[in-house]
Amino acid sequence: MPGVLVITESKDGKLKKVSREALTIGNQLAASAVSDMGGLVSSEAAAGEAGRYGAKKVYVADLGPYDTETYTAAVVKVIREMQPAVVLFTGTSNGRDLAPRVAARLGVGVASDVDRLEWVDGKLRARRPVYAGRAFATVEVTGMPAIATTRPNAFPLEDVGGGAPEVVNVVADAADRRVKLVETKVPEAGELTIAEADIIVSGGRGLKEAANFSYIRDLAHAIGGAVGASRATVDAGWIDHHHQVGQTGRVVSPNLYIAAGVSGAIQHLAGMSSSKHIVAINKDPEAPIFRVADLGIVGDLFQILPALTEEVKKAKAH
């Protein structure tokens, strides 16, 4: 029976937030298609969690650390078993590495980095950014299955309190791994990345010098957000490119985006304008960033940011 299969990712035995978002939209799609949702997880514990998010049948495959071809083989095996109409992967590094390999093996297409998904007239419809976020395309994914990768933070979470699902254990092929993982380096241990953060605080040239990113970091730490940066500051060597928002083609969709000293070049706006709430602080009232801000403050970030950081700390203390 055609259904929706969600390929999940876990961390420490629990489903990652992005996977719970994918299960939520997957469940809604399955309901519109009058079918069921299945999941692929890496442990029995995660299977129960997937069930709470609506999965009726969960395939458990403990495949070890991520490896493209090992995971591709397992996912294809499950797809051939379940024959879903739709397969959702999360738009994470691993999801975006895996989905196209699976699609090419099956001879189908993929809608990547989608922020809207609907089941319309028996087809999967998705919305995704194109031309470095300067436009949005609504696409129909034909073929069986229709595959999409979901953008982190773009879909809300809903624990629907589903019951325990049927669990099927999948045995992975023991093929040799052609790509060996030698080491995982964590450069800034504990820092939130802009790709998955709910809140991003970004700094631009208005900070005047590299050391002033401390104003951004202080607020980001107080509010529990990630540190973002404009391309100008990255090019100037003030901060690592991992923080760059408006990195060509990378679109972020946090719940809250606070931009300080960012003028709002086309590339930056394209990268963050789909944030749900945007606050901009800039001393130039004509700065383009104000065109997309929900709340714009014309003022001195060196005064306002510390004041805001204090307010946030006070609010959190209660």
Partner: protein, 257 residues
């Protein structure tokens, strides 16, 4: 060590986009080699400079795509192959099939691409190509070493970096930070003019046009981002008051804190 670099020709990332139906209006638009492909090309050229061999740059696209190939040759690619066709009418799998067919006859140990083409921004062609060629893939690479058939790459993932090893032939997709792409020199541009671009059609590669242009992902609408309305601007001269206003917004509207 021979390599292939697959490039795409895309609108300049700083320019405004205009829409014409379900495609962009190309009139007056400047096209460039897709930014991530530049890192891929630079890496291939550096490997050639270190270990010799050919760097063959390949593209599937309309007539204007040859400008991208010329730029690549001017920077140091040694051969160029243009598969002529309306690549924008094909989806990523169609494009990957064309590239796979084109590459099979070119001697290579590594196939380089940018991690995504800044047109459709799908990020699919690299991995799909790897699957079609039956090669291992390493994506979003920020550091690469190749010697004697062994490839060591740093792959960027969320908040971390993986150090991976594999053997050639392999597909590598480039991320910003892999290297600093060079500019083409006048000398390079002049030398590039002497290199003939090999032009083929989809049919020349023995492919079924219907299959290549079969749109597995169909664009139904193409729109500019919605104009933001309802935004308000306030005077932040009183920093304390401004901070309280922002906090109120975060509590009431954003419902965070």
């Amino acid at each position: 060590m021979n390599s292939v670099v697959c490039i795409s020709h895309v609108p300049d990332t700083e320019s405004r986009i205009k829409i014409a139906g379900t495609k962009i209006d190309e009139a007056g638009l400047k096209f460039i080699v897709s930014p991530y492909d530049e890192f891929a090309l630079e890496e291939a050229i550096r490997l050639k400079e270190k270990s010799g061999g050919d760097v063959t740059v390949v593209t599937f696209g309309p007539e204007r795509a040859q400008q991208g190939l010329r730029e690549a040759l001017a920077r140091g690619a040694t051969k160029a192959l243009h598969v002529k066709g309306e690549s924008s009418d094909a989806d990523s799998l169609g494009i990957a099939k064309v590239l796979a067919a084109a590459i099979r006859s070119v001697p290579h140990e590594v196939v380089f691409l940018g991690k995504q083409g800044v047109g459709t921004d799908n990020g699919l062609v690299g991995p799909m190509l790897a699957e079609l060629l039956g090669y291992p893939q390493v994506n979003v690479v920020t550091h690469l070493e190749i010697a004697d058939g062994k490839l060591t790459a740093h792959r960027e993932i969320e908040g971390a970096e993986e150090v991976l090893e594999t053997t050639t032939p392999a597909v590598v997709t480039a991320q910003k930070g892999l290297n600093e792409p060079r500019y083409s020199s006048l000398k390079g541009i002049m030398a590039a003019k002497k290199i003939a671009i090999d032009v083929k059609t989809v049919a020349d590669l023995g492919l079924d046009e219907q299959d290549i242009y079969q749109q597995r992902v169909v664009v139904v609408t193409l729109e500019l981002p919605p104009e933001k309305t309802g935004g308000r601007k306030i005077d932040g001269a009183d920093a304390g008051a401004a901070a309280r206003e922002i906090l109120k917004y975060i509590k009431d509207e954003v419902k965070a804190l």
